[in-house]
């Protein structure tokens, strides 16, 4: 990793502190990932990306910036990558999945803020994330109160554009969101000096749709019984989707899927037959948050799908590729993004329907509702999800946790008991 020292210096990073962070990841990754059996060959690419997480891709970003390109950091699956790429910029989904940054985030945020917000704030203010340091602009959004107010503090450290996400799904909200997309478009044109033309946007829509299609294909293969890939591996792929080069990422996911298709044909699974199939629903799991998947998959079950922002919400639904005017394209994007069902919307029956549909499609034995501590929208929404699942006779376990390892033993006991309950 030391080869990248110059790069990190050029990004004004805190090298000493960053070194501590870099030392954590390899062993953690080895423990959680490399210890798995029967991993697909196609995961090698993703292992490589993680093993050089703060080097390979940031170097590409630097090359892009050195030749005059811009990098735009985002935090939410509602922010459209299409516009960013159409402006000739690179979009990076910033994470905030590491406990390492939480304490630093707490320096400026209340302790009872969700770990995701504390973590990304810590990452920025300690200058220890090369992705954050590579961004020419951050794009925030008004999903939850915690994030909405955090942007105001973030402004002290970086340029940030905040999009006003509606929280209902009426026609008026659809139009309001398309208007927000137009404002973002102008901001991006101003940042990059590039005009977003219908043909550029059309290409970008195709580019991002291809990425979504590859992920859809991957998840489709997870419906097979026995499942050909572990939940941890699939989660890693989705996490990497947020910051990797979209074109290369798409091709690597598709080759992974080719391999998995062979496995499915041969009836070859990654776990022994009869392994319980679990769907995880709830709050996002930003890299390197593999905590719950690791607990579930070392307790004798398989995670077969995530109804989360680092799961189906990221890639379900495509944008219409056949439109030729900006107005129509932006409206189509607004429609696509507003189909995503996040707990910050009211009402949010669509999410409940999604969960029940996914349980059927993936032939899941049970659902684990994952709630990051202090995430109020998802915590409140649990009650209605629980009631609906109970009516359908689908077992559900609620797990509220943060990024620390303190409660792993307790969670493991609960997960084990839940799996035994499934019979």
């Amino acid at each position: 990793m030391t080869d990248y020292k110059k790069l990190w210096e050029s990004l004004d990073m805190d090298l000493e502190k960053h070194e501590q962070l870099c030392n954590l990841l390899p062993d953690f990754f080895a423990e959680v990932y490399l210890s798995q059996e029967n991993r697909p060959e196609g995961m090698n690419y993703f292992n490589l990306v993680v093993s050089s997480i703060h080097g390979l891709r940031p170097e590409e970003l630097k090359r892009h910036r050195d030749s005059g390109g811009k990098v735009v950091g985002t935090f939410c699956v509602y922010v459209p990558d299409e516009l960013i790429f159409a402006a000739g910029a690179i979009g990076i989904g910033l994470c905030g999945g590491s406990q390492f940054w939480v304490a630093d985030g707490e320096r400026v945020l209340p302790k009872n803020t969700c770990p995701l917000i504390k973590s990304f704030m810590g990452a920025k203010i300690t200058k220890t994330c090369p992705y954050f340091q590579s961004c020419d602009l951050l794009v925030g959004e008004t999903t939850c109160d915690g994030k909405k107010k955090a942007w105001e503090i973030m402004k002290n450290y970086a340029d940030i554009h905040v999009m006003h996400l509606p929280q209902m799904k009426r026609d008026i909200d659809l139009r309001a969101w398309s208007h927000e997309l137009e404002i973002l478009k102008e901001r991006l044109e101003e940042l990059t000096g590039n005009e977003i033309t219908p043909s550029k946007l059309k290409d970008a829509i195709k580019l991002i749709n291809e990425k979504r299609k590859a992920l859809r294909r991957l998840y489709e293969l997870r419906k097979a019984n026995p499942v050909p890939i572990s939940g941890k591996d699939a989660l890693l792929v989705t996490q990497i989707a947020f910051y990797d080069d979209p074109e290369r990422f798409t091709s690597k996911v598709n080759s992974l899927c080719d391999e998995l298709e062979e496995r499915v044909k041969l009836g070859k699974g990654v776990f022994p037959s009869g392994t319980k199939r679990i769907i995880i629903t709830g709050t996002p799991m930003a890299i390197p948050n593999w905590k719950l998947h690791h607990i579930v998959e070392t307790s004798g079950a398989a995670v077969v799908c995530e109804e989360t922002c680092t799961g189906t919400r990221y890639f379900e639904n495509l944008v219409d590729e056949e439109l030729d005017t900006l107005e129509a394209q932006i409206m189509a994007m607004s429609e696509r993004y507003m189909k995503t069902n996040c707990a910050c919307f009211t009402p949010n029956q669509g999410r409940i329907d999604d969960i029940i549909r996914l349980v059927r499609e993936y032939k899941a034995d049970g659902v684990i509702y994952y709630n990051l501590q202090f995430c109020q929208p998802y915590a409140v929404e649990y009650e209605l999800v629980r009631q609906a699942l109970q009516r359908e006779g689908i077992p559900v376990l609620f797990i509220e946790t943060d990024y620390s390892e303190n409660d792993s033993g307790q969670i493991k006991t609960r997960v084990q008991a839940f799996l035994e309950m499934l019979g």
Partner: protein, 316 residues
């Protein structure tokens, strides 16, 4: 006759039971763990060894937060989580049980059963308000032996409302009520009601509590808590005779069910073997894991605490 040993190592108590092949309880031992689980397990085995010639142990089950440790020391055939162990034991006692309330030293749980199958459960999270340790502490503070605590509550006619959401607040509220001059039995009954309210709103949240209700765990010995549950639920709450060792009973039943050909039990002499635990900080990476060695006569037989399995000992 075949016998089965169950061991439940919790944060506060370590319990051992011996069942015969009909599932009847032949011995039940309740010991304080006192932060020394190895010593407590060995102490228990030693007590049981006095009648060793009566026992033909064919299977051993362990449960509780110290289940791995107990499994290594005694030699276990089945290692199960405490939800399953408690549910199995409650069903043995009351076959048509539909709700199990279990309050132990530092945790509390609810288990919902329908037709003899666990259909739902919940445990307290990091907060230990309302568990045995807290009641112990309050009894101690009021200078009342914990065994008599519940009877004080039963004598109360006008319970005082105590804030039960958090042990810290409950304690300051109790002190405040004492200073206002309320009678100690009214405060104690109020405390029992507060803890029951807290339990039902947190651990029992969203759960359909149907009879029959079995109340077990160390706190079930507290008649004040039993009465407060009955009052709040409007139904009879049954406390089994061996309520404080139900986890161990469940573990023994699970060992019996497993029906292993040859038990891994080390024998009651395990109480004489020198087991020690020591730890070191691994310098292998910056995680600096605190790795625990469990040694039998100096030889490492198990290790845990390392995140990467680098130190894993493969035991035969």
């Amino acid at each position: 006759m075949a016998h089965y040993l169950g061991i439940d190592v919790g944060s506060v108590s370590t319990n051992l039971v011996i069942l015969d092949e009909y599932g009847d309880i032949k011995e039940a031992i309740y010991l304080r763990t006192q932060g020394q689980p190895i010593k407590a397990i060995q102490e228990g085995l030693k007590i049981l060894s006095k009648n060793a010639k009566n026992w033909d142990i064919r299977g051993v089950g362990t449960t509780g937060s110290g289940r791995q440790l107990a499994a290594v020391i005694a030699g276990a055939d089945v290692v199960k989580n405490e939800i399953t162990a408690h549910a199995v034991a409650a069903m043995k006692e009351i076959p048509d049980v539909r709700t199990v309330i279990e309050i132990g030293g530092q945790d509390s749980k609810i288990i919902i059963l329908r037709d003899g199958v666990v259909t739902d459960f919940a445990m307290n999270t990091v907060c230990a308000a309302g568990t045995g340790s807290f009641l112990d502490q309050q009894a101690n503070r009021l200078g009342i032996p914990i065994e008599e605590f519940g009877y004080y509550a039963l004598r109360s006619r006008n319970p005082v409302r105590i804030a039960g959401r958090c042990a810290v607040f409950a304690e300051s509220d109790m002190i405040h009520k004492q200073q206002l001059g309320y009678k100690v039995e009214d405060i104690i009954r109020g405390l029992c009601q507060a803890l029951v309210r807290n339990y039902l709103n947190n651990v029992g949240k969203g759960k359909e509590i149907l009879p029959r209700v079995v109340f077990q765990g160390g706190v079930a010995a507290n008649v004040g808590m039993k009465a407060a549950f009955e009052e709040a639920l409007g139904m009879e709450v049954y406390v089994p005779k061996y309520h404080n060792v139900m986890g161990a009973i469940g573990a023994a039943l699970l060992a019996k069910e497993a029906n292993v050909e040859r038990t891994k039990f080390r024998g009651f002499d395990a109480s004489e073997i020198e087991f020690t635990a020591d730890s070191f900080e691994c310098k292998g990476c910056s995680n600096h894991c605190e790795v625990v060695n469990i040694r039998m006569e100096g030889k490492v037989i198990a290790r845990w605490g390392d995140r990467c399995n680098r130190w894993k000992v493969i035991d035969d």
